[in-house]
């Protein structure tokens, strides 16, 4: 239209309809753009970072983000100030509760006040036993710096574990470095670990060797069709495919199998007979050093 509208109160129906459609289109477009922007921002930031753990009883992350109204009532009811609300710009969804194990771990209150405080069920009220909580899963990630892996007796993560001897056990292994000591390796068991984070909090190293991650990050999964032969065998009281022919394994039939020096193994001479007991005590290369603490 080249001419301006006549200066009347009422615009012609076509013009007013066009103006209305323009307005609606602009408003709808603006609204959609803003919603889309918020949606894209949320999608980008909706992956929980490795060091952020949800409170006990939290639904799976996707469901949690639908259910949580970001009111902070769980944060207020946490007696140890473990929980905090994510600030805008944090890598955790704005306003949702989380905790960082290395900063303040979960003290695993028996009455679980944070779960009771949740008005929407983002924290599942079905959780009544704090030992059943799965906030995350500990993993001893650094075998190179863990003092127990170095053969020392630190054991702090094991000692502080609220589910001691179930969630973390010390597994005794031969120490190949000294060749005479044991290593007691802290070992996490996913069937008992609540992910409270006390092990990570108390690890004595400047950077913890044991860390607690959200379960999806910490845990692998076997394929659904996978069967463990030894379990199936135990369940059925015997091998499912009949007894197998036991074949000798070359090299393993020698008495010092696995610890024989290389030059002994490549020699074509028959394996040397075990020396008499008196000689054993004097041979440094022998398996049993007779050392006693």
């Amino acid at each position: 239209m080249n001419h301006p509208l006549p200066p009347t109160q009422e615009a012609p129906p076509a013009a007013s309809r066009r103006r209305f459609l323009n307005t609606v289109a602009a408003a709808a477009g603006g609204g959609c753009l803003l919603a889309l922007g918020a949606g894209l921002y949320a999608r980008q930031a909706s992956a929980l970072p490795a060091q952020a753990l949800r409170p006990p009883g939290a639904l799976a992350e996707a469901d949690f983000l639908a259910a949580c109204v970001r009111c902070g009532l769980c944060v207020r009811d946490c007696p140890y100030k473990t929980l905090q609300l994510a600030d805008l710009g944090d890598p955790v969804a704005t306003g949702t509760p989380y905790f960082t194990a290395r900063a303040v771990p979960c003290e695993m209150c028996e009455d679980i006040p944070c779960v009771k405080a949740c008005p929407t069920g983002a924290l599942d009220h079905a959780l009544t036993d704090i030992n059943a909580a799965r906030m995350g899963l500990a993993a001893l990630v650094d075998h190179e710096s863990c003092l127990n892996f170095l053969g020392l007796r630190c054991d702090v993560c094991y000692r502080v574990c609220p589910v001691i001897d179930k969630a973390i056990t010390l597994e005794s292994q031969h120490n190949p470095r000294s060749d005479r000591h044991a290593m007691l390796l802290p070992t996490v068991h996913s069937d008992a670990c609540t992910g409270c984070g006390k092990c990570e909090r108390s690890c004595v190293l400047p950077q913890p060797a044991i860390k607690v991650f959200p379960i999806t990050l910490a845990q692998g999964a076997l394929p659904a069709h996978f069967r463990k032969g030894w379990e199936e065998k135990a369940r059925h009281g015997g091998s499912l495919i009949g007894e197998q022919v036991e074949l000798p394994v070359r090299g393993l039939d020698a008495p010092l199998a696995g610890r024989t020096p290389l030059e002994g193994r490549v020699s074509t001479a028959p394996a040397p007979l075990p020396p008499p007991p008196a000689a054993v005590a004097n041979t440094p290369r022998s398996l049993d050093s007779q050392w006693k603490p």
């Binding site: 609204g31 919603a35 918020a38 949606g39 996707a62 639908a66 109204v69 902070g72 704005t94």
Partner: protein, 292 residues
Amino acid sequence: MTPAARRARAHPGAEALAVKGWWRAQRWLLLRRISQLGILALFLCGPLLGGWIVSGNLSSSLTLGVLPLTDPYLLLQTLAAGHLPYQTAWIGAALVAGFYLLLGGRVFCAWVCPVNLVTDAAAWLRRTLGIRTGRTPDAATRYWLLAGTLAAAAVSGSAVWEWVNPVSVFHRSLIFGLAGGLWLILGIFLYDLLIARHGWCGHLCPMGAFYSLLGRFALLRVTASGRNACDDCMDCFAICPEPQVIRPALKPTGPASPIVTSVNCTACGRCIDVCSKNVFKITHRFDPRSPS
């Protein structure tokens, strides 16, 4: 515009201040500030003084350990995202929705919402400095945005608007001592100051749009019952955060009721304050009095 008119536009209510005195020229504004800050104080008592009256925030709260209140707009987003909340949230949302259905939805905006403090400040500065820049979006944008936030929640399965919702982010920032949300509020302040007059609260905020929808049957209303005394000074239009709601009551084309029935009226009472002719007053929806 004459210099006098420009001055009046920059300082609406100057005449009322001279005629009615300090208290009556800003009574409703002061009451509103007391309400807004008082509600913040109720939330802050616990964290600052250790005496818990209300814990949580505007999204969902617990008063004195017994009274649950939940923002019905948030409940709606949660439902759209595909989560069926617990009974506590339903009871809280029903109480809040019932309260605002009775009193008037946008009463939340004027008397409770902390963003109102910011946008009022921006509007005051814009008036005082005489800033006329920018472009105001259509006032219906907020309803589209409201629909967009619910659609985004349904599509993404997550309450995505709550990542950036300035109302809940600001309130949470104040109550929980977070700083990140303040940038968002600064953005809204600058938007209202430089780009659009009453841009956020009056045109964009989907939360305000939601509470507008709750205001259909609001009991608490402003009436222009003294409209015959109006001297067309335009102070009420200059100060009103939703100026379009005044005209049908104040300057009707026919013998219409003087009661402001628009759902967008926030019942802030500023028109009552700034009018030197006592045209407006707060009344209830069924006030039978005709204009004097």
